[in-house]
């Protein structure tokens, strides 16, 4: 887990790059610099969702209890993902106010991110409603998997329902990045550093969960 410490170096680099090195965009001016925070945050939110889904699948298929506390780890991942997604939504809607004139206009990306938020909210409400039910882990994991299954349907529908205002440089049909060289490098560095940050936070939370579990266990032995 040494590589996760790299976040302490990479994060300042990406901040400096995004303000000093990357040029400002043509029409948007300096507001375009939000991209180096907005895109990595959204990416982090999706990544956290995928990771907690994978943890849930592992938890349910893990009959011999090879891994410990996977449902708690999946919950931790979802917590971080929720924060990342909220931040992406806030930065995105501020940016949208600056460039399109309104905070919210049901753009496909805004729609999909709000669906992601809804799933997170539902998962957390289910988690807290289950209390110390002995099936907590299994029901919550089953719900997360169930919700993940519907996501491909959203990918299929949303672009048909709502026309997009998002600039194509990032997501387009040719799957290419239409950005200047400096911008592209900076964006890559920012995405890498936020990914590292996500894994670092997840690692910390998981270790705390494990310590908490053992401390309880030891206390009960007495």
């Amino acid at each position: 887990m040494k590589i996760l410490k790299f976040v302490y170096v990479l994060m300042p680099i990406s901040i400096i790059l995004s303000f000093m090195w990357a040029p400002s965009a043509e029409i948007l001016g300096n507001t375009s610099r939000i991209i180096y925070f907005h895109v990595p945050l959204a990416w982090g939110g999706v990544l956290a969702f995928i990771v907690s889904g994978i943890f849930s699948i592992l938890y349910l298929s893990d009959k011999d209890k090879k891994y410990s506390m996977l449902h708690e780890k999946s919950y931790n991942s979802a917590q971080i993902g929720m924060v990342f997604t909220i931040l992406a939504t806030i930065s995105g809607s501020l940016w949208s106010k600056l460039s399109w004139g309104s905070y919210w206009n049901w753009d496909p990306r805004q729609t999909s991110i709000s669906v992601l938020l809804l799933i997170y909210v539902a998962y957390f409400s289910l988690w807290s409603a289950l209390g110390d039910n002995s099936r907590k882990g299994r029901i919550a994991s089953a719900y997360l998997i169930f919700a993940m299954i519907t996501v491909p349907f959203f990918v299929f529908i949303i672009p048909r329902m709502y026309p997009s205002l998002h600039p194509d440089p990032i997501i387009n049909t040719e799957q290419k990045l239409r950005l200047d060289f400096e911008m592209r490098i900076t964006l890559m560095v920012a995405i890498a550093s936020f990914t590292l940050l996500y894994f670092y936070l997840l690692n910390l939370l998981n270790r705390i969960t494990v310590i908490d579990y053992y401390a309880r266990d030891k206390q009960d032995e007495k």
Binding site: L41, V83, I86, L87, L204, I211, D212, A215, R216
Partner: protein, 126 residues
């Protein structure tokens, strides 16, 4: 066992520190707003030179009155320009703020990491 209360405190602190990230997002954007050369009215993001048509797309003619950027904002941009503040200096100060926020977060995380390492050792010894 003495560990217990410490752990709960730490858990909460870590959660708080994650929310601390909010400050990054909140701080950058409004400040950038002042420094930006900004859009003119009716100028919108174009994609391959084509304007998107959608019921939400706001063209210069269609743009409703209520959605014009507030005059106070415009003035403040002007003010910022009038007082001679260089755009790059504003950019620098924004960057300084963001870096400061990050440093605060980093210090927080390092502290918590050290604590976790200590507790892990304690648990292994038991």
């Amino acid at each position: 066992m003495i560990i217990m209360p410490g752990i709960n405190k730490m858990k909460n602190r870590l959660k708080v520190s994650i929310f601390f990230l909010v400050t990054i997002a909140f701080l950058i954007i409004p400040i950038i707003k002042f420094s930006s050369t900004g859009l003119q009215h009716g100028q919108f993001l174009k994609n391959d030179g084509e304007t998107h048509s959608s019921r939400y797309m706001l063209n210069a003619e269609e743009k409703p009155q209520g959605l014009k950027s507030l005059p106070s904002e415009r003035e403040s941009v002007k003010k910022a320009q009038d007082t001679g503040r260089d755009e790059s200096s504003i950019l620098l100060s924004v960057m300084a703020v963001v870096l400061a926020v990050w440093i605060g977060l980093a210090v927080f995380l390092i502290k918590i990491n050290l604590k976790i390492v200590k507790l892990e050792k304690e648990i292994n010894e038991l």
